[in-house]
């Protein structure tokens, strides 16, 4: 046999090698497991999910190859790690995978609404701004029969244009005066805030730019005088008119961005309807040609 060549034979067995195989396969399989019920969308933006698949396949391929190749001689000068060390390390890295399978992650919102903020940075995510969307009557418009505004006791038909909160902010920050009085239908989660008037609340949606851990929020102040404020964190559809928010605290920096409490518009609610929590509470789209999710 030539010097330096290892004799052919079955791969070496050791606890460390077995655990490394388990780690590789466990993580690879777990990454694919997240595509079950589309839970992956909650963690990784759609644009990057192919990387998750690639990573999973690499890890599974590694674990198969690792099983096929015989173990090498000990590395020269390498820092050896005893068997006990590898067992501990492997147990540590496997723990999240075991936890993930035992209590699979589900799509859920973050409990802490963090900063409520809209900035011009989100305009890029909303895509092209359709300045006429509130002027046109479209097939998506919702028509409600509501008590007439003149107090006559009759009903009048009102048409509301469904928009998502990101589109709304982009439109209204571009020129509020153009849209005062227009009727919109919005969906979102309710957030109470002591800095708002007693009959006001925030309607919020979380926006994912790359992953849920770094989600941020877009908001609208909703005014609902004469009706009970919906419960904190409940999901509602608000049908209302665009109005001017008079209690404005500007923190502008000269770049046209305003902090949340400086929101210059308010949605004067005409009807608030509780709805179920959506299957995915997050918004996020990079493809500018597709309409945004309502």
């Amino acid at each position: 046999m030539r010097e330096g060549m290892r004799a052919a034979g079955p791969p070496d067995f050791s606890v460390e090698r077995l655990l490394r195989k388990v780690v590789l396969f466990g993580y690879g399989f777990f990454l694919l497991f997240l595509f079950r019920n589309d839970v992956i969308r909650h963690f990784i933006h759609e644009r990057y999910q192919f990387l998750t698949v690639a990573g999973a396949l690499i890890l599974i391929a590694f674990s198969i190859l690792y099983s096929a190749l015989a173990g090498p001689r000990p590395r020269k000068g390498g820092k050896g790690r005893g068997a006990a060390g590898w067992v501990l390390l492997s147990a540590f890295v496997l723990a999240p995978v075991v936890w993930g399978f035992a209590a699979p992650p589900e799509v859920q919102g973050l409990s802490d609404h963090r900063e409520h903020s809209y900035t011009a940075s989100f305009a890029g995510l909303a895509g092209r701004r359709d300045a006429e969307v509130l002027r046109r009557r479209g097939p998506g418009d919702v028509t409600l029969e509501l008590p007439a505004a003149d107090g006559s006791g009759g009903l009048e038909a009102r048409a509301y244009t469904p928009l998502n909160l990101l589109e709304l902010n982009v439109l209204l920050y571009s020129g509020l005066e153009d849209y005062l009085g227009d009727r919109v239908a919005l969906r979102g989660q309710v957030a109470h805030d002591d800095d708002l008037a007693p009959d006001e609340f925030f309607l919020i949606r979380a926006v994912v730019t790359c992953c849920v851990a770094h989600a941020d929020y877009v908001t609208a102040v909703v005014s609902a005088p004469g009706s009970e404020k919906p419960a904190e964190k409940s999901w509602v559809t608000v049908y209302g008119r665009v109005g001017e928010h008079h209690d404005v605290h500007e923190h502008g920096n000269g770049h046209g961005d305003e902090h949340d409490h400086g929101q210059p518009f308010v949605i004067e609610a005409e009807k608030i309807e509780p709805i179920g929590e959506p299957t995915d509470p997050y918004m996020g789209k990079w493809n500018r040609s597709k309409p945004f999710r309502f």
């Binding site: 330096g4 060549m5 290892r6 490394r20 780690v23 590789l24 993580y27 990454l31 992956i40 963690f43 990784i44 990057y48 990387l51 998750t52 690639a54 990573g55 999973a56 690499i58 890890l59 590694f62 190859l65 690792y66 190749l69 173990g71 090498p72 001689r73 590395r75 590898w86 390390l89 492997s90 540590f92 890295v93 999240p96 936890w99 209590a103 992650p105 859920q108 973050l110 409990s111 802490d112 900063e115 903020s117 900035t119 011009a120 940075s121 305009a123 890029g124 995510l125 730019t209 790359c210 992953c211 849920v212 851990a213 770094h214 941020d216 923190h251 920096n253 770049h255 961005d257 902090h259």
Partner: protein, 288 residues
């Protein structure tokens, strides 16, 4: 209890995001082991370390690599004879200057092209400067760890050893990553955001405050621009500090640097790069 739910969510999210990149990085470093002639890089960079630093920095604009992917690659390059300043520059340039980061920043600041230009216009010279500082300090300017071409192990043995090494590296880095994700998720889930933002917002020293925020939040470089954009009432200089530091030095990365780089290099990176950022912004800030 609900913060525990957030903890699990953020921990899983960050881990799931990072693991594929880690796997890719280990795969690339294994391919280097397989296909790159042993002394090729050592001969290539002999006497050309300074030029190598500039080329490595420029490579950051071309390759869309994440910070988790590039650490094992840089380590492997170092083993193959690439001088430390060049390997470090490549490691830093990828996450700072990648095309994905350019795109994300331009989307996050649609009305602020200057900030986009500044991020990359400053980022490139900063990365080069960091590599040159390491070169001047004599931190492994010459190749180290490169193996001699003659008398090495047989190819089959090299394949097995390389593969075993790659798997071992992956599991070790994964251990560090899991630990770092635990810390990051804990900070984000259990420390009130109002407290973090109060420190950042009320501090008279906007630049150090935003740098601290970048370090603590450990945001990935594809999304840090959106986080920075949310701090609407911060100056451009402060936002730049956040954007320039985050891809290079944060809680997660520091742990990996200390595990996989020579200790003096990891300490140097932790100290030198933030200093360079502060110096650069002190000069440029007068004109913004």
């Amino acid at each position: 209890m609900e913060h525990l739910g957030d903890f699990k969510l953020i921990f899983t999210d960050v881990l799931v995001e990072a693991v594929p990149f880690l796997a890719l990085g280990v795969l690339v470093s294994f391919l280097f082991e397989l296909f790159l002639p042993e002394d090729f890089l050592r001969r290539l960079f002999a006497g050309r370390t300074a030029a190598g630093v500039v080329v490595a920095a420029a490579a950051g604009f071309v390759f869309p690599v994440s910070e988790y992917c590039i650490v094992p690659v840089a380590r492997k390059l170092r083993e193959r004879g690439v001088p430390l300043p060049v390997a470090l520059t490549l490691m830093v340039a990828g996450p700072s200057l990648s095309p994905v980061v350019v795109l994300a920043t331009s989307v996050a600041f649609p009305n602020d092209a200057n900030l986009v230009y500044l991020r990359f216009g400053l980022g490139f010279p900063l990365v080069v400067a960091m590599g040159l500082v390491f070169l001047l300090l004599g931190r492994g300017a010459g190749p180290a760890g490169g193996r001699d071409g003659a008398g090495g192990p047989e190819p089959a043995e090299r394949l097995r050893a390389g593969f075993d090494g790659a798997v071992e590296d992956f599991v070790r880095m994964l251990g560090l990553l899991v630990f770092a994700c635990l810390v990051t998720a804990g900070v984000q889930a259990f420390i009130p955001h109002e407290l973090v933002h109060k420190v950042a917002e009320n501090s008279a020293l906007g630049v150090p405050a935003m740098m601290l925020l970048a370090f603590v939040t450990s945001t990935c470089s594809e999304s840090d621009a959106f986080i920075a954009a949310a701090f609407a009432h911060f100056s451009h200089v402060s936002k730049l500090a956040f954007l320039l530091l985050g891809p290079v030095v944060d809680l997660k990365l520091v742990l990996m640097h200390f595990a996989f780089l020579p200790r003096r290099a990891a300490v140097g990176l932790l100290v030198i790069f933030p200093l360079l950022v502060v110096l650069a912004l002190a000069v440029v800030g007068k004109f913004i």
